[in-house]
């Protein structure tokens, strides 16, 4: 009981930070919006998707997934900064639940995605994105994205507590996430890649998430999936499996790491 309320105090602290430094929220929203506009108008004309509605229909799930994957970075940077400033030490000297700080943080970072996804969705709609699967599936799609962001946030906990410095966390996460999102079907079909890379891309959780979201938002998933493999045939199932695996590994690991954390 107090574990939950302790975690919520930490989450609340993060939301308070957003009201004190609104630029953070502003920039974490502007960046994905910029991506939507750039990809839509720079590549949109040259990629023939063979689907009604054009490239933007395929693009949006890709950018959604890329953005929530980067939740990892926010978590890592935030925790590294807390570590660097000695706040983690202070939290650890308090009589609070041993998982409160990391749960509060991942919850806060996960919740921030609601705002970011909403802003992106609206921008997408303005530039022509029209999910066609009905209310229920669309909501399910967004829920899917939120859970994925939450799971990735736990990976960020480990990174943040390991590197212990804000600047390093920034670079480390960038290097970790960028290849992951580009070695996927998010922005272009995997079929153009060299064969070995195609396999990597196919099994990449980002790809299964993107393919899964495309399904939930009402697209036939031809683009980007090399036909026949298990992940490309069952992207939703595979994504759920990935999320469960990530959380099953990283939540206990993170809690342990936090309790041993030292500057």
């Amino acid at each position: 009981m107090s574990a939950v309320s302790d975690a919520l105090v930490i989450t609340k602290r993060q939301l308070l930070q957003l009201t004190r430094v609104p630029e953070v929220l502003l920039f974490s929203t502007i960046q994905p919006i910029m991506f939507v506009l750039l990809f839509r108008y720079v590549f949109g004309g040259s990629i023939d998707t063979g689907q009604p509605g054009g490239y933007v229909q395929l693009l949006m799930p890709g950018i959604f997934v890329q953005t929530v994957a980067f939740t990892l970075a926010g978590t890592a940077v935030g925790l590294a900064a807390d570590m660097q400033k000695g706040l983690i030490d202070r939290f650890r000297s308090l009589p609070i639940s041993r998982s409160a700080v990391v749960f509060g943080r991942t919850l806060g970072d996960g919740a921030l995605n609601i705002v970011v996804l909403a802003a992106m969705g609206i921008t997408g709609f303005i530039v022509g994105w029209r999910p066609s699967s009905g209310f229920f599936n669309i909501v399910l799609g967004f829920l899917f994205l939120l859970v994925f962001g939450f799971a990735m946030s736990w990976v960020g906990v480990i990174i943040g507590l390991s590197v212990r410095e804000e600047r390093v966390a920034q670079n480390a996460t960038f290097i970790a996430v960028f290849p992951l999102t580009f070695l996927s079907n998010a922005f272009a079909p995997t079929t153009g890649m060299p064969k070995p890379l195609q396999y990597v891309a196919e099994w990449n959780p980002v790809s299964t998430m993107v393919a899964g979201c495309r399904e939930l938002f009402g697209l036939k998933n031809e683009f980007g999936a090399t036909a026949g493999s298990f992940p490309s045939e069952n992207p939703l199932l595979m994504s759920v499996i990935y999320m469960v695996i990530i959380m099953a590994i990283f939540i206990p690991l993170s809690v342990r790491k936090y309790n041993k954390a030292s500057k």
């Binding site: 107090s2 309320s5 302790d6 105090v9 609340k12 602290r13 308070l16 930070q17 004190r20 430094v21 660097q84 400033k85 000695g86 706040l87 030490d89 202070r90 939290f91 650890r92 000297s93 308090l94 009589p95 609070i96 409160a100 212990r164 410095e165 030292s262 500057k263």
Partner: protein, 329 residues
């Protein structure tokens, strides 16, 4: 009763090549203040981190208020307050936000947290800046807020790691005042410092540590006696050296040291400023105008030199950096 006991604490880093704690023993009587005095790298922070349940030692045992730190860390956390070497508060939030957050984490109700925040802000003269983000605070204000945050539950045992390092003289004075007030309330305090003067001012007893070990322990008077107490130092022009020596002999009674090169005459004195005034008067009567005259109090360096035979080695100037900045490691 002993409020803090540490027995044979050892902690090494980098596969044993750095011994941060090397068989450290200490104990603090309930309701008293122990000053842990030592140079940079002596093991002060490591000691505090072990006692505050943040770090597991490689070996040894420790209790706080009779509770085993290693076996029952959760219980220890309920009764201690910790203010680390660098102010650890959320800089983007206001002083008020921080105190409320920590109050809630100590499981106060929303109302209790508010009441306590108001009290603490008042006590630490921060009421006027309560609604400003911490990043606009001066180093002294940050440390005071940090200290306030560690007092939310009125801890039985308080740990302050170098509470004035990085503060300007004014901030240091303020902090001393605040700490003295606190101590009157009966809390047991373990405080670390690099300055003998500070330990002198705040602590009932002092433990001098070096290379992860306590090398001397006692009241500040007894430590100073070991070093030799205060010295009167006078610098005069060449022709006055021998006359000055005679004058110093009258006020000191101890062994007189004459440095011909520096034209400096020095000797231990026991009567402090009285000896200084006396010497000045006698010099004046003889028409001698000293180039420099003063009392030199034993510094940490002197204590060290006399206790260990080596000079306290300064590692880096990192501690002069503002208290809000954390060194990266």
């Amino acid at each position: 009763m002993k409020a803090i006991i540490a027995e044979d604490l050892c902690k090494s880093y980098n596969n044993g090549s750095v011994k941060a704690l090397n068989g450290l023993n200490l104990d603090v009587e309930e309701g008293t203040v122990l000053g842990v005095l030592g140079p940079n790298g002596a093991g002060k922070t490591t000691t505090v981190r072990v006692l505050a349940t943040l770090l597991t030692p490689d070996s040894g045992r420790a209790t706080v208020a009779g509770i085993d730190v290693l076996k029952n860390p959760d219980e220890v956390r309920k009764i201690i307050g910790l203010s680390g070497q660098y102010a650890a508060v959320d800089e983007t939030l206001t002083g008020w936000d921080n105190l409320i957050m920590f109050g809630r984490l100590y499981h106060l109700s929303a109302k209790q947290a508010k009441t306590r925040a108001i009290e603490l802000l008042e006590q630490f003269s921060l009421t006027d800046s309560a609604k400003r983000p911490i990043r606009t605070y001066s180093g002294g204000m940050r440390r005071r807020l940090d200290l306030a945050a560690s007092l939310i539950i009125k801890p039985k045992v308080l740990f302050l790691d170098e509470p004035t390092t990085g503060l300007d003289p004014r901030g240091r004075q303020d902090m001393w005042g605040v700490i003295n007030e606190l101590v009157k309330g009966g809390v047991t305090l373990l405080l670390t410092t690099q300055y003998l003067e500070e330990a002198d001012h705040l602590a009932d007893e002092i433990a001098v540590i070096d290379h992860g070990k306590v090398i001397a322990r006692g009241t500040s008077d007894s430590l100073k006696k070991q070093v030799g107490g205060e010295r009167l130092e006078i610098v005069v022009e060449n022709q006055f050296v021998s006359a000055t020596k005679e004058i110093v002999a009258k006020v000191s009674g101890g062994a007189i040291n004459v440095d011909e090169g520096l034209r400096q005459i020095s000797a231990p004195v026991t009567t402090g400023s009285k000896a200084l005034i006396e010497a000045a008067k006698l010099l004046d009567e003889k028409g001698i105008h000293p180039l420099d005259i003063g009392l030199k109090r034993p510094s940490l360096d002197d204590v060290f030199l006399s206790l260990t035979g080596h000079v306290a080695e300064e590692k880096k100037d990192e501690d002069l950096a503002s208290s809000g900045k954390k060194r990266g490691r």
